[in-house]
Subunit: 548 residues, 2 copies
């Protein structure tokens, strides 16, 4: 592996640990906990892992002896910067506890556990991946660990390798499944502990106990860098409107954070669209209004941030998609083989009037995408819809109307961008490098202290790293019951953008000024070696949430 100059220089970085994890560690346990809702049902589902206390790691005078153990680790779901450092943190803490301990990585996600695909992670391998982006050390995958058959297949290989603890690094679903697995192994006294770690660039795995999921910081800073560069270009050329879609399956945290970092002219927040029951046309009208107002001041340029999940938060479109899914599944035989125009006609006749009206209001290409391009389960593939182009096309039409009516004078030249893959595997910022290393170290400490069904956590991360507080939270504490695929299931509640939260309120208080004037900020690329105020700042979201 040929390395870049930065990779080589960055290898030497020693992530900063909280004081509680630096020397001898002892455990401070809190009171028994309760799940956030549906306590009776959750307790019934998780008799062995319910009600456990919060734990916190604190410095200790006493040096403990640790027996050697074998631990397995899995990366689950989409890449997020810092995953390698979680693994390095586990490895280093395990080896510090006992140099005879071993760490195994299961390959290409949870599937590696089921398929017995693994490798031992030795010091020479680990050292190649310190402070690097990506999940290529052991790969990741989207297999869901949900079935007893999978749990048993996993147990076979765990027994064979004498692995007594498993760390699953993933998002809300993966951590929910980690909890189910922990309960399953506990119930049958399998002798395997299961620990989760909160990962996702989307930022939607956070709550009272979890300040932020790792990777969000680095991914947002990478997107903010290129958005800032585009804004400087817009402000120099003064002739383009840049429509910038940002990854994030459903929550708008990434778009909002990038808006707080860059101060674009417009940022759409899906959660607000849903709460205000806005139509697509209202969103288009809002954007067109900003464009027209800036044009009146001679500014035919700007930037617009769009969260990837927007389309599903527009109530009218959400309803349309739901009816399309049912209708097309029910009448598959009837529709199959019709050409595009005929399917459109058929839909206009058979959709309920409100949904038919929404369908007709969409640009033809997008309507066709909704009607025709379906995944193997027959569902609309929302992620394929180029929302940034959809909106700019509709804004262009609206402006053309306004021009005829004399309400708009200006030039509208849109350009389109979509950022996602650009940030998921960036080399972790100092924040994510430290945070992930501390999470991994905490996971190893939870294991050493016999915990299962816990997620590793680190709190107080807006303070200097030495004052961070590491520990663990029982996953059951974060569960509630939700309907999934027709049945009630215990899940970790997804954290969407809160309209009463400090990040959104800070944005909402300034957006009018940002829309009208040019208030762009240019964050520049992530710096690893410079002054602390440049290199060690957290996301604006986290700073606002912690100081609110």
């Amino acid at each position: 592996m040929k390395k870049s100059a930065l990779q080589i220089a960055r290898e030497a970085y020693q992530p900063k640990l909280p004081l509680g994890l630096r020397g001898n560690v002892s455990v401070k346990e809190g009171e028994p906990t309760q799940s956030v809702a549906d306590q009776e049902e959750i307790k019934k589902l998780f008799p062995n892992t319910y009600g456990l206390p919060l734990v916190e790691f604190v410095p200790s005078e006493e040096k403990k002896d640790y027996a050697p153990i074998n631990v397995g680790v899995i990366l689950s779901g989409g890449q997020a910067p810092g995953g390698h450092n979680v693994i390095c943190g586990i490895f280093d803490m395990l080896k510090k506890q006992n140099p005879e301990s071993k760490l195994y990585g299961f390959l290409m996600g949870p599937g590696g556990l089921v398929d017995h695909d693994y490798k031992e992670l030795t010091a020479d391998i680990i050292d190649e991946y310190r402070n690097t982006g990506g999940f290529d050390l052991i790969g990741s995958g989207r297999t869901k660990l949900e079935l007893e058959g999978q749990f048993e297949k996993g147990l076979e290989i765990l027994k064979q390798l004498n692995i007594t603890a498993l760390v699953i690094i993933g998002g809300d679903d993966s951590n929910t499944n980690a909890c189910v697995l922990a309960e399953y192994y506990a119930a049958k006294n399998a002798g395997v502990q299961v620990i989760g770690c909160p990962k996702t660039i989307d930022g939607d795995l956070k709550n009272e106990q979890i300040e932020t999921s790792f990777g969000f910081d680095t991914a947002c800073k990478t997107y903010a860098e290129v958005i800032g560069n585009i804004q400087r270009d817009a402000n120099s050329a003064r002739k383009y409107w840049h429509f910038i879609k940002l990854m994030g399956r459903s929550a708008s945290h990434i778009a909002l954070e990038c808006a707080l970092q860059c101060q674009p002219n417009v940022c759409i927040v899906s959660e607000e669209v849903e709460a205000k029951e806005q139509t697509l046309d209202e969103i288009v009208e809002y954007i067109a209004g900003v464009v027209a107002k800036r044009a009146a001041a001679g500014n035919n340029f700007g930037t617009i941030l769009i969260p990837e999940g927007l389309i599903e938060f527009v109530p009218a479109i959400k309803k349309l998609i739901a009816e399309l899914n049912d209708l097309l599944a029910e009448h598959a035989a009837e529709v199959d083989g019709l050409d595009v125009a005929d399917i459109r006609e058929w839909l206009c006749k058979n959709l309920t009037p409100a949904n038919a009206a929404t369908f007709k209001s969409l640009p033809e290409g997008v309507g066709n995408q909704l009607a025709l391009e379906r995944d193997p389960h027959g569902n609309v593939q929302v992620s394929l819809i180029e929302t940034e182009k959809l909106l700019s096309e509709m804004v262009g039409k609206k402006l053309a109307e306004w021009k005829k009516e004399g309400k708009y004078v200006g030039k509208f030249a849109p350009l389109h961008h979509f950022f996602g893959y650009e940030g998921r595997c960036a080399a972790p910022s100092n924040y994510d490098a430290d945070y992930c290393y501390a999470l991994g170290s905490s996971a190893a400490q939870l294991i050493a202290n016999g915990k299962t069904g816990y997620m590793a956590i680190v709190k107080n991360t807006t303070a200097p790293a030495e004052n961070w507080v590491a520990g663990g939270v029982p996953i059951t504490m974060m569960l509630n019951m939700e309907r999934r695929s027709g049945a009630m299931k215990p899940v970790i509640k997804k954290a969407l953008v809160r309209l009463d939260g400090a990040p959104f309120k800070t944005f909402a208080a300034q957006r009018e000024e940002w829309a009208e004037n040019t208030c762009f900020i240019y964050p520049g690329p992530i710096q690893y070696f410079g002054p602390s105020e440049v290199c060690d700042r957290t996301t604006v979201t986290l700073a606002l949430e912690q100081n609110a």
Copy 2:
């Protein structure tokens, strides 16, 4: 203007100057020069600015007195990182020579000179823009200074502001025009010197005298950062082929430099396509071949770099476009009003057989784009063609055929990216910050020494900055005669990628290995504060060219 932490920290950076420009400066003049070709014609066109000597600035014991002067500066054409530092370099050197001297910026490009749109650049303004990206200090534009009327309008405002020297910061065309303007003012003894500065992220303004144009370094490093991140993602997810188009109107320097920095699986070089007279199908076959070979080894992922200008370098398509332009212009009345299908039919009938065959071989969408979407001059808008999607679509079809024939087993899931605006306004790397500041300082020295029709240059830039050699080159030295819009004109020869040059040869020697194996390098973001081997490295292109 609210600034990011990085901007604030970066303001303090003092660009490094060559020894020759640090203290007292004297001028070393060379022998009279000749144009690179067509000497007689160039000499005749530029009687007052032809044959001037190369000049070099060297340290001097003697402290000179400089009378105060007023200087104008113009940014011309597309943004490139470091433009602001050129202006800062001019400003600082002017003020050092005489604090009474003044610098005026003409606004939004050469048009500002013609329209008398300007502002004085004072220390408090300049200080806000040190080491920043973008051209927003005075804006840029694409108006070409070519007509006597423009020269005279410009002269009016220059006289009015008592400006005796003008610096034009631009690409090859802008510098050619700077030379024409210099000659014009010299011929009529207007008392205005004109100096050029070599700018363009495309990297195609370079020759014996100009090592590199500014902005190329920063732009390529920014693209390489996101390409590297995408590669790490590809190597982690192991299921996507990323087709990445890179800006660069015609030359492939950017794509080649990014390939040298990142080692992707494929990089297409337009100049090679042209030299080998490759067809689109041959390019597609090459890419599909790499995909298939990697699939056979279980690697259904990879990265492919595509230069923006590719399509015009495919000889068959170049010919098709030329005939389409003529044919559609000639028969505008006949074609006007026909629907798409009829225009396609008409074209298939009326194009020469070879071009008709090429037309039919293109995916329908691209064919329609060529046939229907024309600019106000009736020309095909090549830059609108999504070459990255065109290629991936054709590769997908080829692979489907091969699958039927049993020649390919694998999954092909393409994703698309286009990077351009992300890098044009990035904050300049140390290299570009220093290089631009030195160029600006040189420009001011050329002015102080009475030169006109010169371009500021800085050489030996792979050495530490103190050993860089600053000076000036008569622009006439770089001119030759070329046919433009039907007439022979003096122009600076565009530097395309040389297939016998060290950068291409280095790439060609390794590409087979990069194609088959996964040799990705992850350069990471530009660093401004870290170790010198990270922060001060040049492009690979420059290093290879200088050491060849």
